[in-house]
Symmetry: C2
Amino acid sequence: MGLRERKKEKTRLALLDAALDLFLEQGYDATTVEQIAGVVDVSPRTFFRYFSSKESIPLWFHEQGEETMTETLDSRPADEPAFTSMTHALRAVIHDMQGSTPEDTERFLKLRKLFETNPALVGKSVARGTAAELRLTEIIARRRGADPADQLSHLIVAWAMATMRVGFECPYEPTNIRAIVERMEQTLAIAENSLKPGWDT
Amino acid sequence: MGLRERKKEKTRLALLDAALDLFLEQGYDATTVEQIAGVVDVSPRTFFRYFSSKESIPLWFHEQGEETMTETLDSRPADEPAFTSMTHALRAVIHDMQGSTPEDTERFLKLRKLFETNPALVGKSVARGTAAELRLTEIIARRRGADPADQLSHLIVAWAMATMRVGFECPYEPTNIRAIVERMEQTLAIAENSLKPGWDT
DNA sequence: TAACTTATGTCATACGATGACAGATGACAA
DNA sequence: TTGTCATCTGTCATCGTATGACATAAGTTA
């Protein structure tokens, strides 16, 4: 890894951290891209070269999660019930969270606090999630040998994502990742217990 | 109803229709507020006095639907299973759709086509829906005598909304409201059949 | 008709976002 | 080390969304 690449990574993280801190200090809306860039001492134009938009900062984690889910889903056996595969994909995301570096963990907790203080962001994250939902639905539908327009495939994915969201948006103030993970596992358990066996086949 | 009020309503609908037509002609992103205002012959500033944002045009139906759901939910008996109440709320929205004027029906069909050609809008509609989801969750949690942070209450609402979305986003090209309503009823039926009796109590 | 309320247009301004171009900086081979 | 090349960066220009301030025009009411 050359100097150039390291420098880029450093700038990227600096922008991310600066943005996160400013968001928590003065609120998401009140923070401008100019301010974020100012802290890191780069031009606003450069900010947009690292992040496609101001929004993509609080959404960087979700993008990461979607990737994990897609990969996991592809690796699951084809004859597994669809919702079961989805829960595995969700748990893979949880697993990633637990295995992240202390820096990433801190960022994640900050992010969570940000979402809590700014409910509008939750909406925006779901908005981004819709595109991912479509891709996941295609995978599930193909596996089930169904039309991409198949309602049940849609429903399986939509409910799984909704479950994840409910688990993530716990209004408790978590001081560590463990609390969030536990909460997610709880929610997942409730979901699994609420569904009739074989509904997703 | 005075002249002034009638004039306002007329302008509002003119802006709505102009926007919808332009969106379908040249796409949502390619259409500017200036153009929309131009068709109706008002200043762009005036547009923003009728609609809080460009986005709120394709979202006007959702806002309407949320209102219906909240009202319905409040009128349901307190001892009814929560998810059942939610399905009633959803069906109330469907019922409203069937009872609308021909003009509104046309607008709704245009809107649906718009959502189909612009998946990003689906995301944005869900984003708006998140706020409504929070309010509905509060109602459900209170009825269930649970904490507002109760996971099951969250899950009940989230799954119901997800079901609605799956029904709405049918990739079929509906020429009339009936086709959409049928599709929604189908999705709702699948959902109801997938859940264990009593899961929502 | 006069006095009022309210809607509208015309500024000005802020912020997010993108394209174009030139200069700075790191990468790499001779 | 030096020269060449690729790439990153800042500056500038521009567009579109959105909001506040203020004067004017329109409808309302006495």
